[in-house]
């Protein structure tokens, strides 16, 4: 049922990424199901982050990378050089390994994305800033300090601010690149819980190398090793009954 095409949000077809002579991603074919948490799992340096960056074409920032293949989101190919990438990127909110708040106030960190989306009136802005800060469970902590620079927040609060900022452009997909790796256990747990709530409204793609995290929140798992997809399937299939030798070794802790 999971592989039903109607239920899929992102199709990746024959994706290859080269950096000079080195091939970083080899023939990636993935279907990412709608309203589920898809975990891209694998050891460091296996190309997970690059795969994620292909989805919203942040690979543009690295001129040394050559990307071929297709990434289809709502039947539009993100990798098409003529695609309206600015609009396509708003389909996806991004959460990075460490929070990078924009160099402005807490309020403006959220309002920035809203303004890009075309929200103009001050009342609408204020209402929506509040809404998204509430959605990320940050409102109560920052409601009296909205005009302070975002850099003054704790790192856990900053990551929630980045989540709110990403949600504010009204995306359909959340891309998260090891979003808990810099956080303390409580903040990490908070983000995980939030993801399981958010999947009702969003499609979530989470990159991680933490097995236990994948087991806790994944619906669908893509296991990668050295630039290739080794195995993909539902969490029960991959964790319960892995078919490939590499997957078994990774899950068994032979390497990580």
């Amino acid at each position: 049922m999971m592989l039903d095409m109607e239920m899929n949000k992102i199709h990746i077809e024959n994706l290859n990424v080269f950096a000079g002579r080195q091939q970083i991603l080899k023939d990636i074919n993935i279907n990412i199901p709608k309203n589920k948490i898809t975990v891209i799992l694998g050891p460091s340096g296996c190309g997970k982050t690059t795969l994620l960056k292909c989805m919203n074409r942040l690979t543009d920032l690295y001129p040394e990378l050559k990307v071929t293949g297709k990434v289809l989101i709502n039947d539009k190919n993100v990798l098409d050089p003529h695609a309206d990438i600015v609009t396509l990127r708003q389909y996806m909110g991004l959460l990075m390994q460490r929070p990078y708040p924009l160099p402005m106030t807490i309020y403006n960190n959220i309002a920035y994305g809203l303004k890009l989306r075309g929200v103009k009136s001050r009342r609408d802005l204020h209402k929506q800033v509040m809404h998204y800060l509430q959605l990320a469970n940050l409102w109560d902590e920052v409601r009296h300090r909205l005009r302070e620079p975002a850099s003054r927040l704790s790192i856990g609060q900053q990551q929630r601010l980045c989540l709110a900022r990403g949600l504010a452009v009204n995306p359909e997909i959340i891309l998260a690149d090891e979003p808990t790796s810099a956080l303390d256990p409580i903040s990490s747990q908070y983000i995980e819980t939030k993801f399981t709530e958010l999947k009702n409204d969003y499609t979530i793609v989470l990159v991680t190398h933490v097995l236990r995290q994948a087991r806790r929140i994944a619906d669908y798992v893509v296991f990668m090793y050295l630039g290739e997809v080794i195995e993909q399937g539902t969490v029960e299939e991959v964790f319960g009954n892995p078919k490939m030798e590499k997957t078994k070794q990774y899950l068994g802790g032979t390497f990580n």
Partner: protein
């Protein structure tokens, strides 16, 4: 015996290091003190406000008004900053955001060569190119008769001179902004220009101010190139096409001559004191903003 020798050597070297450090650290204060003492004669006899804001400069009859020189210096510095500031910002953004890294590797030596050219060469270039350019082209364009030796000529030559210093700092600042910040802004659906304008520029602002402060201090103190093209006429310039005089040029042109005039020597020392105070001020401002930039970057 051998060990004792080593310990002694350690102590001796240690002492010398401390001595060197104290020497270097106290040099600015010693300079300041020296200039103050040497100009004390003047400061003691005249009101400070009169010295700084009086227009009359007649050392022969004991009138020392530094206003024309101060105004001349400010004009020249401002023109230089107005021209080089935007050029440096745009170049730094283009080089760090739009070109490949290889281009930057070619740019750096080119900028360093500009920085290494002796100021007297810039002055010559000013006399040969800028001065005629102003008298034959820019002046007539605005309907002004000018010899070319002017505030504007000095400002133009200076603007070229300080570009490498400001540009090097700016490139470093834009280069060290984490790429993730750019990714964050782009992923929200901002265009590259919106990202530069609203995010990168804001992040770099304290650094940009520091770079400008550095350039300003340099421009204010530059002597040779300015002296060669500014005209060296003591008056209050009414337009940028008028000749003028600057504080460093005043000292360089006159020290050693006419020192028989009473208090003349003190007056030149006072000019040096003003210069030192101004450059110290800009240095402090610069460090304040660099500190802030580093704190924000952390």
């Amino acid at each position: 015996m051998y060990l004792l020798n080593r310990i002694q050597r350690h102590r001796v070297n240690y002492t010398w290091m401390i001595v060197s450090l104290v020497l270097v650290a106290s040099l600015p204060f010693l300079l300041f003190l020296g200039l103050y003492l040497k100009s004390f004669l003047l400061i003691h006899d005249y009101h400070l406000g009169d010295l700084l804001f009086s227009k009359e400069w007649k050392p022969g009859s004991g009138k020392f008004g530094f206003y024309p020189f101060i105004v001349g210096s400010i004009w020249v510095t401002l023109i230089a900053m107005l021209i080089s500031g935007p050029i440096c910002i745009l170049t730094a953004i283009y080089v760090t955001q739009y070109t490949k890294k290889r281009f930057l590797r070619i740019m750096h030596p080119a900028i360093d060569i500009l920085a290494g050219i002796p100021s007297v060469v810039y002055g010559l270039w000013g006399i040969l190119v800028i001065v005629p350019f102003i008298s034959d082209f820019v002046g007539p364009l605005f309907g002004v008769k000018t010899l070319g030796y002017s505030i504007l000529a000095a400002g133009l030559v200076l603007s070229i001179m300080i570009i490498p210093f400001i540009l090097n700092i700016l490139i470093e600042i834009f280069r060290t902004i984490p790429i993730e910040l750019k990714e964050a802004s782009l992923s929200l659906g901002a265009t590259q220009w919106e990202t530069i304008k609203h995010v990168l520029f804001k992040k770099a602002l304290p650094g940009i101010i520091a770079a400008f402060g550095f350039g300003l201090a340099r421009a204010f103190g530059e002597t040779m190139a300015v002296l060669m093209v500014v005209g060296n006429v003591v008056n209050l310039p009414k337009s940028v096409f008028d000749p003028g005089y600057t504080l460093p040029a005043l000292i360089a042109n006159n020290y050693g001559e006419m020192l028989s005039i009473p208090k003349y020597d003190s007056a030149l020392m006072f000019a040096a004191l003003i210069l030192l105070a101004v450059s110290l001020f800009f240095n402090l401002v610069m460090h304040f903003f660099i500190d802030r930039y580093n704190k924000l970057a952390a």
